[in-house]
Symmetry: C2
Subunit: 193 residues, 2 copies
C-alpha cells in the first residue's frame, strides 16, 4: 500500500497533471478565441487528452471557464510609492504583465470572455471590486472610486486595442512610447493624491 487514510500521496496522482494540462489549454483557447468559439474538443486536443476527460474533471464548459478565471492581479502596494511616481508604476505594472505573457495573460482572457459571457463579466466586476479598486483607492485623489473606475477603463482600453482588437497604430507602439504618453493621462485621472 503506497498511501494511507489521508489519501493518495502527491506523486501518485496522475490526474493532477491532467487537470493542470486541461486548465492551461483552456486558458489559451479562451484567451484567443473567446468563450463561444472555444470548444471542449479543441481544448482536449491541445492538451492531448480525450474530450470526455474535460467533462469528468470540470463538469461542463461554464465551470471550465470558471476555473480558468481564477486571477490574482498581484498589484503593487502603491502607498509605498511616492505620489508622483504612482501613475507610471501602474502603467508599467500592467504593461509588463501583458508584454510578458502575451495573449496568455489571465486578465486578457477575462476581458475577452467578459464581452460575450455574463458570468465572466460578473467575475470581472468582482476582481475590480476586490483587487483594483482597493489598490487604486490609496493612490487617488477625491472621489477615489470614480478615479479608480476610469483608470481601469483606460488601462483595459489599452489591453483591448493593443492585444485583442490589435489596432495597428496601438499594437505597434513600443512599451516606452506607451509609458511616456499614457502616464500623464493616468496621472491626471488619479488626481493629486
Amino acid at each position: 500500500m503506497t498511501h494511507s487514510i489521508d489519501g493518495p500521496p502527491a506523486a501518485a496522482r496522475r490526474s493532477d497533471r491532467t487537470k493542470a494540462l486541461i486548465l492551461e489549454a483552456a486558458r489559451r483557447r479562451f484567451a484567443t478565441h473567446g468563450f463561444e468559439r472555444t470548444t471542449i474538443r479543441a481544448v482536449a486536443a491541445d492538451a492531448e487528452i480525450d474530450p470526455s476527460m474535460v467533462m469528468r474533471y470540470y463538469g461542463n464548459k461554464a465551470q471550465l471557464l470558471d476555473a480558468a478565471l481564477d486571477i490574482d492581479l498581484d498589484l503593487p502596494d502603491l502607498s509605498a510609492v511616492p505620489a508622483a511616481d504612482r501613475a507610471e508604476a501602474v502603467v508599467r505594472h500592467f504593461l509588463h504583465r501583458w508584454e510578458r505573457d502575451g495573449t496568455g495573460d489571465a486578465l486578457l482572457l477575462l476581458l475577452r470572455s467578459a464581452v460575450t459571457n455574463d458570468h465572466a463579466a460578473e467575475r470581472m466586476h468582482a476582481i475590480f471590486a476586490s483587487q483594483v479598486a482597493p489598490a487604486l483607492a490609496s493612490a487617488a485623489g477625491p472621489e477615489a472610486a470614480v478615479r479608480a473606475g476610469l483608470v481601469s477603463a483606460q488601462l483595459l482600453g489599452l489591453a483591448l486595442t493593443r492585444y485583442i482588437v490589435r489596432i495597428p497604430t496601438v499594437a505597434e507602439l513600443s512599451p516606452e512610447q506607451i509609458v511616456a504618453t499614457l502616464t500623464p493621462a493616468i496621472q491626471a485621472t488619479l488626481g493629486q493624491g
Copy 2:
C-alpha cells in the same frame, strides 16, 4: 404598368422596408450578444419575418454582419474648436452618442463584434484609420499618430467598461462626472496641439 425600364418606383418596393427591419434587428442582436451568439433565427424573430428572408437579402451571417458594420462616426471638425476645448469636445461627442443610442450604437456593436470576429476587427482598423486618426491628427501634438491611438484606446476603454462589461463603478457614473474626470486625461494624451 406602374414602373418603367428604370425599375420599380420607390413606393412599390416593400422589400426595402423588410431589409431595413432586418438590419435594425441585426444591429441590436450583434450589439447585445456579439457575433457568435447572434442567430439568424433570433434576428428574424425580432424583425417579425421569416428566417429565410434574412438569407435571401443578405446571403449569410457574415454578410449580414458586414452590412450592420457600416458606420459613420460623424466626428466634429476639431480644427474649428479652440485648442483648450478639444479634449472636452471629443469626450462629449462620444459620450453623447453612446448615452443617446444606448447599446444600439453602431460603434458599440463594432467593438463587441471585433473582440471575437476577425472580420469585424479589420473593419475597426479601417474605421480608425479613415475616420478617427485623421480627425484627431489635427488636434494632437507631436507624434500625432501615437496620441490618436492612445486617445482611441482610452475612449474605447470607457465604452467597454461602461456599456459592455458594465463594471458598476463606471456604469453608474453621471455623464458630467465622466467629462470632468476624463477630459484632463484626454487633454494630457493629446499633448499641446
